[in-house]
């Protein structure tokens, strides 16, 4: 057998199953979703068609753009808070904890909550933020308030808190990795050249950890953008997110074509986010040599 033939054969032996599987169970589903977004709703179900009505409806009815923007706002807030809390934590683990063992242990402590049921993590916040919840109980006990407040739960703030809580570990992990990868001699070089610790942080450490921030932020943004658990559990009447609408198009509203079109828009949005972040990331990675 010729060397080239042998190569081809082993390639196909390895790759045909993954390729076929991916095409059948992933790529075709995405494509068929795209196709269905051009179908027509026809009571009580829907029929194949090719028209842009669904997209026109999504772009013209302010109810949808309002929800998309609200969802983006919430996802952006969640991302911002996760960075604000996750970065110091990662920094603390990498630069303040001197013992390798303790660092690994604490790192695992950050990761562990990720593995507790997603639903339960969201739902606990209902217990904490409720009128009868832990937060109100604590404030009452401390004498800060004398009537339980109902401002904590069933609103967008509750969703932001819950999602931030859920996604902090996703943020800490890549930032931790990025910080850990910064060679210590770059920090020393900066000090050697006269920069104090704060200046070193701003000018060397922070820029060199952007790749980690971008990776964590992308993940957090995309996943919280698509979340439908928080609105159900802790969101209030004003907490409808894109995923809730999507869910209802495939559920109550029984308008799969419209839902598919909305999903296609989310798909495109996520691709844009991924593209942008990989641009930033690539710039960052090049700079890490």
């Amino acid at each position: 057998m010729k060397a080239r033939t042998r190569q081809r054969l082993s390639f196909w032996l390895l790759f045909s199953l993954p390729l076929a599987w991916t095409v059948l169970f992933l790529i075709l589903p995405y494509l068929s979703m795209g196709m269905m977004s051009f179908w027509t709703r026809k009571f009580p179900l829907f029929v194949p068609d090719f028209q842009f009505g669904n997209y026109i409806q999504l772009f013209s009815d302010p109810q949808y753009s309002a929800v998309i923007f609200r969802t983006m706002k919430i996802a952006a807030l969640v991302t911002a808070y996760s960075v604000a809390l996750g970065y110091p934590l990662a920094y603390f683990l990498v630069f303040t904890i001197r013992s390798e063992k303790l660092r690994t242990l604490l790192y695992m402590c950050v990761v562990v909550p990720l593995w507790v049921s997603y639903l339960l993590r969201a739902y606990t916040w209902k217990i904490i933020l409720g009128t009868d919840g832990a937060l109100n109980s604590a404030l009452l006990w401390l004498g800060i308030i004398d009537q339980p407040l109902d401002i904590f739960l069933y609103n967008q703030a509750a969703m932001v808190i819950t999602l931030t809580y859920i996604f902090i570990p996703f943020m800490v992990m890549p930032i931790f990795t990025a910080l850990e990868r910064i060679p210590s001699n770059l920090i020393e070089a900066s000090q050697d050249l006269g920069a104090g610790p704060f200046e070193t942080f701003l000018r060397v450490i922070l820029p060199l950890s952007t790749a980690g921030i971008v990776a964590g932020a992308t993940m957090t943004f995309c996943l919280s953008f698509g979340d439908f658990v928080a609105p159900v559990l802790v969101g209030g009447p004003s907490g409808t997110m894109v995923a809730t609408v999507l869910q209802s198009q495939f559920g109550a509203a029984l308008n799969w074509p419209l839902g598919s079109a909305l999903a296609a828009i989310i798909f495109a949005l996520v691709l844009v986010v991924l593209q942008v972040s990989s641009k930033i990331d690539r710039a960052g990675r090049v700079s890490m040599g």
């Binding site: 589903p29 068929s32 604490l106 695992m108 992308t218 698509g226 799969w256 598919s260 996520v270």
Partner: protein, 260 residues
């Protein structure tokens, strides 16, 4: 590196606060699993183990747990069967569309699960794959295979390329090389990513939501229970999940970080 400056102190403060923030809810979950009131609100009313007893007496919950185990185990097995050869092929061969393939297979990991779930629901229905645990297994395996591929690929890249060549240099065929040389060196990456897939599949909601039929998984059970109003049984099962995940995470994190 000598004394901490004000800004470093506040960083440390935020960091410790965040660590606590991560654990308060977990603590509350565990606390309420021992509280003897069906309503999860303060003040606590008394200690009980009833909720744990109820967990073990609740046939529907236990059935959903079994279903989840079946789903997670089967999906994980599939991700290995598909992911490992894919990673080997991606590592060894250059071909057209390689980047496209890698990006596509990773898509479900960043795309909101609900979109993937909808797409699958839609298409699986058209190819006559009814909503069922089987569909959920296929959906999970497809959505998660990217994890196995990336982890194994990363390990393969770190693995000295010469090892495979050395093996064939010493007379081993490709199959022998895989089993004697490649596999032992990527085993921990496979196990680590398998554990990760298992846990993610076990906890998966959006894809399952659309693909599950009358047999439901534990998260679906919890989801519908939560929608119907909470019962502290859920706190008990949550506390148990914390315990089990702790064991799983510890082993998988060690596996994945094991080799530099």
């Amino acid at each position: 590196m000598h004394k901490l400056m004000w800004w470093q102190k506040s960083l440390v403060g935020v960091a410790i606060g965040t660590l606590l923030f991560l654990y308060i809810p977990v603590a509350i979950l565990i606390l309420f699993s021992f509280n003897d009131s069906p309503v999860t609100s303060f003040p606590l009313s008394g200690f009980t183990l009833d909720w744990y007893r109820k967990v073990f007496a609740n046939a529907a919950l236990l059935q959903s747990l079994v279903n989840s185990l079946i789903v997670a185990l089967s999906a994980t097995a599939l991700t290995i069967v598909i992911g490992v050869p894919a990673a080997l092929a991606l590592d060894r061969f250059e071909f057209i569309g390689k980047r496209l393939f890698t990006n596509t297979i990773l898509l479900p990991l960043s795309l909101p699960g609900i979109v993937t779930g909808i797409a699958m629901l839609n298409f699986y229905k058209q190819i006559g794959l009814p909503q069922s645990l089987g569909a959920v297994i296929i959906g999970h395996a497809t959505a998660l295979v990217g994890i196995v591929i990336t982890q194994v690929l990363a390990r393969m890249e770190k693995l000295n390329r010469n090892l495979a060549e050395a093996s064939s240099d010493l007379g081993a065929t490709q199959v022998e090389t895989f089993f004697h040389v490649i596999f032992p060196n990527i085993r921990s990456a496979i196990i680590g990513s398998a554990l990760l897939c298992f846990t993610l599949s076990f906890d998966e909601i959006p894809v399952t939501y659309f693909l599950t039929g009358r047999d439901i998984t534990l998260p679906m059970y919890i989801y519908s229970t939560l929608r119907r109003g909470i019962t502290p049984e859920i706190n008990a099962i949550g506390a148990l999940i914390v315990l089990v995940s702790l064991a799983l995470i510890l082993s998988s994190v060690t596996m994945l970080r094991e080799k530099k």
